[in-house]
Amino acid sequence: MKRKILIVEDDVSLNETVKEFLEFNGFETVSVCEGDSAVNIAYEENFDVILLDVKLPGMKGFDVAKEIRSFSDTPIIFITSLDGEKDVEKGFLSGGDDYIRKPFSLKELKLRIDAVLRRLYSNREKVDLGDGFEFDVKNNELLKDNKPVHLKTKVAKLLNLFIKHRGEVLSKDKIFAEIYNYEETPNEASLRTFVKTLRNILGNDKIQTIKDIGYKFVG
């Protein structure tokens, strides 16, 4: 499954370049130019990383980050300029995970994105799930003996969520918010099916049901 990145940058040329570059490197991207539309789209869809320009028309980048933080913990990388360094601290305070200074090279951008993604999985490239199963962080894939296992989109999203929150209890609401988009209607029965699918692949004991609350991944 492709990683999905939200690009928020008001300069159209730069926005397009970054978008094209990331797509070239196997990411799925959505790009917007304004702060409020960034907040809206981050609310409606789920992203793996958000690239956020600090200087946006209308809403300020930091405020956008704060708003997004109120409902999502998607990693945010700020795009700042060399002369806005005092702002960097403000950026981290408003919930940013990293920052990159303009003018930057695309290589550096890619490195930063990879690093932020890796950090989500405790800095590992691959997460060992036992019984020959591994999760490839970079490509967002489940591997069995180094061969990719095909999963349906929602199941893959669920697995991804479980791995990010290993050993934590995940409420059903949280799971719904992460794997369903805004316009889709969450469905408890299908969630049960997804969990069953994962249990069939990874083993029954990997996912515990916490009654009336949700699930816990202990793989």
Binding site: L14, L82, D83, V88, R101, K102, P103
Partner: protein, 366 residues
């Protein structure tokens, strides 16, 4: 901003110095005359008391009931007849070792009688006067400083506004350059990634890189003080290779050969700072070397060394801001200034010298 502070300080010092000098002279004269007055008063007192006492002791030349607080000594034809011996003086009033003496002579037929009244000089009025003057001086000084500060601010306001405008303009200008430079550089990167290459693109790239360097140097000089440093471990060898690769087109255009002898060496510093350091030294070496020459680069035992053919005429001034030795070459005169600043910042030792027709620059990382 520092220029403004400098002129404010100069103004303040000149103003304070001249005013204090003037006030000081005035005070000196006042002090002198006030002290004179205090002396005169005490002389007069002793003289008066003496005169009052004389009729009493006229006949027996004894002062049995001298109610006054002065002491009296009497000489008859130069012979001590009463009181303690005192050192005589031919003045009417004099002062000796903090004691006031006054003399009154009565000429008689059998010879003159000299009455000398004396009393310890009372220093407390002088002390009080000094204290008063000192206290008023403190007030005057405070007052003057306030006035000078207000005046200075007032006079310098137009200058300050101009400087501020200029700073804002430079900041906005550099800021506005940010995004276009990013777009140019990233798109060149994209073209390379797609393996689209041509001479034209290479030329655009080298010019864009130059623009980027100028831009980064400018922002460094203007904004270094409030830039957040990200201290990480960087391998100098990697950075040097990267920087040489960056300048490739520029180096090739001048037909310069680069000879590298680099060991791995890791320093803890902000990557951008090390980039600026190496970039500036490298581009200077290439820029000021004649065509078809060799530039030597090396890292050995933590010392980075770069040399190119040429000579620096004014070694003392070469690291000054905006100093340019060769006005024919483009630039702002910032390169070595930036290098010096970075070295000072991290405590690296920078050494620049001419050696047998070569300019040799070394940085000792420690």
């Amino acid at each position: 901003m520092s220029a403004e502070k400098k002129s404010l300080r100069r103004f303040l010092l000149t103003y304070l110095f001249s005013t204090l000098l003037l006030i000081g002279i005035g005070e000196w004269f006042y002090y002198k005359s006030a002290v004179r007055e205090i002396y005169d008063k005490q002389f007069n007192y002793v003289l008066n008391e003496l005169k009052l006492a004389i009729p009493q002791g006229m006949f027996g030349l004894r002062f049995y009931d001298n109610k006054s607080d002065i002491n009296i000594t009497v000489y008859k034809r130069g012979m001590l007849v009463y009181g303690k011996n005192v050192k005589l003086n031919n003045k009417e009033c004099w002062i000796d070792k903090g004691v006031i003496y006054c003399r009154n002579e009565l000429p008689r037929r059998w010879g003159k009688i000299e009455f000398v009244g004396y009393k310890k000089f009372d220093f407390s009025p002088v002390d009080n006067l000094r204290k008063q003057i000192l206290l008023s001086n403190v007030f005057i000084l405070i007052f003057l400083i306030i006035i000078a500060y207000v005046l200075g601010k007032m006079f310098l306001k137009p200058v300050r506004d101009t400087i501020k405008n200029l700073e804002n303009f430079i900041r906005d200008a550099t800021h506005e350059m940010n995004t276009p430079i990013s777009v140019i550089l990233t798109n060149i990167e994209m073209l390379k990634m797609k393996k689209i290459e041509s001479k034209e693109i290479q030329r655009i790239e080298s010019s864009a890189k130059r623009l980027e360097k100028i831009f980064k140097d400018l922002t460094f000089v203007r904004l270094n003080h409030n830039r957040k440093k990200e201290i990480i471990s960087v391998n100098l060898k990697d950075i040097i290779n990267e920087r040489v690769e960056m300048c490739k087109t520029f180096i090739e255009n001048k037909k310069i050969k680069i000879i590298k002898e680099c060991e791995d060496f890791v320093v803890k510093a902000d990557r951008e700072d090390i980039n600026r350091l190496i970039d500036n030294l490298l581009s200077n070496a290439v820029k000021y070397s004649p065509q078809d020459e060799t530039v030597h680069l090396s890292i050995k035992n933590g010392v980075f060394c770069i040399s190119n053919r040429g000579e620096i005429k004014n070694l003392n001034k070469i690291t000054e801001k905006f100093y340019r030795e060769n006005k024919n070459e483009g630039g702002f005169g910032l390169g070595l200034y930036i290098v010096k600043k970075i070295c000072e910042n991290y405590g690296y030792k920078l050494d620049i010298k001419n050696e047998k027709g070569f300019v040799k620059i070394s940085v000792k990382f420690k």
